[in-house]
């Protein structure tokens, strides 16, 4: 009996090692349900309805690289500077000369030869975090000019804009009296009436020159007790504010207006994509309408698509950006946005709030990027969406 047990045990162990001889073959493929198939499917524009909406973002322009001044069509930019760092011992000093010193960047938009601005005294309080829309429309600065400048720039060398010495004298006086300190609200640079150009200057927050060598400042030659010397005052606050006098939210195109800032929100209808698929590629392609665009010299030419993720209570949880850089396709300038991450998220779990397309130079320029919409007649210019997904059965 023991021999029988031993024989059977060995027999079993041998077969455990060699139990299964199974290599794949094509036999039986016809009975495998289609739901098991791994396959790629591609949906293109016609299968992915979408809506577009132009929205204005509230952009806080503190800590920006540039200060924009100028005008381009209906869009304008003004720069605000506040100089409060005067010693409190100069109330009786005489201001011999005062210059606003600025360093232009190589960004400009429009006819450079027409560039010019005037300087005005600001008459109401402001801060970089809330320059206020009223700065444009209300009597918040004196109409009387305290300085002017006109002409283009060939490099980033400093320009010196003479400032009315009486104004600076007032600032010296305010600095010595705490009760009048707030009367110094600085100056605003507004485009000249005949200017059709926007120029950017380095701000005090610019990181391009970490040694502050390109920061704006006020150079004041003063005399006190018969002694003349020069003081340099850097802005306690500086910013710019862009606005439009006639911007319509009903544009024929998909428009991004930097500096103000307008973006276009695009929302895709993804209802034709099944749940549990893996998005392997999702590309949004926009074609630039050069006739409706205004892009400055040396501008950043990249755009971004932004997806904000909200919870069901509307609280922003997270944001994701993808960059679109231009390529030339059959003579047309097109931007491709790889929105794979967004589409996957919208399919899986995110609330689909759409994505905002905006210019990466939104804070540094007054550029207008205008892309053909689905209303354009030429089908090659319409926005294109191509989503490829991998169906992994679940």
């Amino acid at each position: 009996m023991k021999k029988i047990f031993l024989f059977i045990s060995i027999f079993i162990l041998l077969f455990l090692v060699n139990a299964c001889d199974d290599t794949p073959s094509e036999v039986g493929i016809s009975v495998i349900p289609v739901t098991d198939e791994i396959n790629y499917k591609t949906l293109e524009t016609d299968s992915i309805p979408y809506t577009t909406e132009i929205i204005q973002k509230t952009v806080i322009k503190s800590g920006q690289e540039y200060l924009l001044v100028g005008k381009s069509g209906n869009e304008e930019a003004i720069t605000l500077l506040k100089f409060t760092g005067f010693p409190d011992t100069l109330a009786s000093a005489t201001v011999i000369k005062a210059d606003l010193v600025l360093h232009p960047t190589n960004y400009s938009l429009g006819e450079e030869s027409t560039f010019g601005f005037t300087v005005h005294k600001i008459t109401s309080t402001w801060s970089v975090t809330s320059p206020g829309n009223a700065m444009v429309t209300g009597p918040l600065y004196d109409n009387a000019s305290v300085g002017t400048y006109s002409g283009a720039f060939s490099d980033t060398s400093a320009i010196y804009v003479p400032i009315n010495t009486s104004l600076v004298k007032d600032w010296l006086y305010y600095a010595s009296d705490a009760t009048k300190y707030n009367l110094n609200q600085g100056i605003v640079l507004t485009p000249s009436a005949n200017s059709n150009c926007v120029w950017a200057f380095y701000s005090s927050d610019n990181t391009t020159y970490s040694d502050n060598s390109k920061d704006p400042y006020l150079r004041v030659i003063k005399e006190l007790n018969g002694k003349r010397d020069t003081i340099y005052v850097y802005p306690s606050e500086d910013t710019y504010y862009g606005y439009s006098r006639n911007f319509s939210l009903d544009q024929k195109n998909i428009v991004m207006q930097s500096g103000i800032s307008y973006r276009t929100k695009i929302k895709l209808d993804l209802s034709r994509i099944p749940k549990h698929v893996h998005i392997t590629s999702a590309i949004l392609t926009l074609t630039l309408d050069p006739d409706d665009s205004k892009i400055g010299k040396n501008s950043i030419d990249s755009l971004a698509a932004l997806a904000n993720i909200y919870n069901s209570d509307g609280v922003l949880l997270q944001s994701f950006n993808v960059i679109g850089t231009p390529i030339i396709d059959n003579g047309k300038k097109v931007y491709n946005f790889n929105i794979t991450l967004f589409v996957q998220g919208w399919i899986d779990k995110w609330i689909n709030s759409g994505m905002e397309i905006f210019h990466l130079g939104e804070l540094y320029s007054l550029d207008r990027y205008s892309f053909y919409s689905k209303n354009v007649v030429d089908p090659n210019k319409k926005p294109k969406i191509k989503i490829t997904y991998l169906n992994l059965p679940y």
């Binding site: 009996m1 023991k2 029988i4 047990f5 031993l6 059977i8 045990s9 079993i12 162990l13 077969f15 455990l16 060699n18 139990a19 299964c20 001889d21 199974d22 290599t23 794949p24 073959s25 094509e26 036999v27 039986g28 493929i29 016809s30 009975v31 495998i32 349900p33 098991d36 198939e37 791994i38 396959n39 790629y40 893996h278 998005i279 392997t280 590629s281 790889n338 794979t340 996957q344 490829t388 991998l390 992994l392 059965p393 679940y394």
Partner: protein, 410 residues
């Protein structure tokens, strides 16, 4: 030595079970209702057949007649060929089928306690297809494996003369895997694959009854009629998906674990007869119904159809005298079965039928070896279906000893 053997058998019983047909893709695979080797040799006919040496799992009432503690364990070898318009594929497999222990507790009322472990369902397929994806040649591979096992505990007794009743509960457990892979022969494309695993657990119940007084009514040597019923079982199943795929910028591995969902195993019931024609021959047949249309996982059915199975067998022991030659004391059986399976593919119901041969050889007073051979066919090679031809060889060893029984010496 016996202990070592038991340990090997028990451990090996926990191995996943394989099957070799694409038809096993559906549901939880092929269900195996009859796991004893003797009943396999009888084409599965076992609802009304008592057995003193080997316990079948179909009808617990059949355990009543064991005289000693019975341990049995079996294994099988399967060789199959699947055939369709794409060609033929051979498959071989060897694995364990069951381990069962039956203990007679009280002889007058025929109380028998039984427990065991057996393979209840099996999935096994391995298929590929050459495809074109994004204008590139690729190979789709589909692979399925696993199955569920049942650990059962049951009790049978005789409440009155000629009537035996049995109950069993089974704890079902196991993992069924379905996977797919898309392989590119291009270094720029990453292979994509998924593995869907379903982990199943939960209890099922079966009751059975046999009345053995039919012989008097029919005027034959003996006659049994048996009935079994197993209600719907609400099991729990958790799905886990592992996937590995490439996006435009990265290769991503992802595992999604779902919550436990309800998995409904359908009811089944059966009716069987065992008719002793004389001292040497008996004839038996079974009818078994399973309501697969009620099968659901997570509220979704797989469009399975109710299955029905008919089986017949003729069995003989030429000579019961212990002094007779072994070949005459052995038990021989011949069986046939036909099953209308739970599958309907391309509008065609899949059927299976087969013939069986069984031989049971008494090695000694305490040991019995059963063997069985099945030749069967499943499906057909037309209408996009496949034809499976298979041969299965089952082997089991059955040992019995006296446990828990007071002898006169004591």
């Amino acid at each position: 030595m016996k202990k070592i053997f038991f340990i090997i058998i028990f451990a090996a019983s926990l191995y996943s079970q394989e099957s070799g047909s694409p038809y096993s893709r559906f549901g939880l695979g092929f269900f195996n209702y009859s796991i004893s080797t003797r009943s396999t040799g009888n084409a599965g006919t076992s609802i009304a057949i008592f057995d003193e040496n080997e316990l079948n799992n179909l009808n617990p009432a059949t355990w009543s007649k064991i005289k000693n503690t019975v341990f049995s364990s079996g294994l099988f070898y399967e060789s199959s060929t699947s055939e369709d318009n794409n060609g033929k594929k051979k498959f071989q497999n060897m694995n364990f089928s069951n381990t069962v222990l039956g203990v007679p507790l009280e002889k007058d009322k025929e109380f028998v306690l039984a427990l065991g472990l057996f393979s209840k369902s099996k999935v096994g397929y391995n298929i590929y297809q050459n495809v074109i994806v994004n204008d590139l040649p690729a190979k789709s591979v589909y692979f399925g494996t696993g199955g569920i096992s049942e650990f059962m505990l049951g009790l049978t007794f005789s409440p009155m003369q000629k009537l035996n009743v049995g109950f069993k509960t089974g704890y079902n457990f196991g993992e069924v895997q379905h996977s797919g892979k898309l392989q590119f022969n291009n270094s720029e494309y990453i292979d994509n694959e998924y593995l869907n695993s379903i982990y199943v657990k939960g209890f099922s119940f079966t009751g059975g009854i046999i009345y053995n007084g039919l012989g008097d009514l029919l005027g034959i040597h003996y006659g049994n009629i048996g009935f079994l019923f197993s209600p719907k079982s609400n099991l729990r199943a958790k799905k886990e998906r592992y996937s590995n795929f490439s996006s435009s910028s990265a290769t991503i591995s992802d595992t999604v674990v779902g919550g436990e969902k309800e998995l409904i195993l359908p009811l089944n019931y059966g009716l069987g007869f065992d008719l002793g024609l004389n001292e040497k021959y008996h004839f038996a047949f079974d009818y078994l119904f399973t309501g697969w249309e009620d099968y659901k996982y997570n509220g979704l059915s797989e469009n399975l159809k109710n299955s029905q199975r008919l089986s017949f067998c003729l069995e003989t022991i030429p000579e019961k005298d212990l002094l007779a030659p072994l070949s005459e004391r052995a038990r021989y059986s011949l069986g046939f079965y036909y099953e209308r399976m739970n599958l309907e593919i391309n509008g065609t119901r899949i059927n299976e039928y087969g013939i069986t041969l069984g031989i049971g050889v008494p090695l000694s007073r305490n040991a019995f070896i059963n063997s069985a051979i099945i030749y069967g066919r499943r499906g057909k090679n037309e209408n996009g279906l496949i034809l499976d031809n298979f041969i299965k060889v089952h082997l089991s060893i059955n040992l019995n000893e006296l446990w828990f029984v007071n002898t006169e010496d004591q």
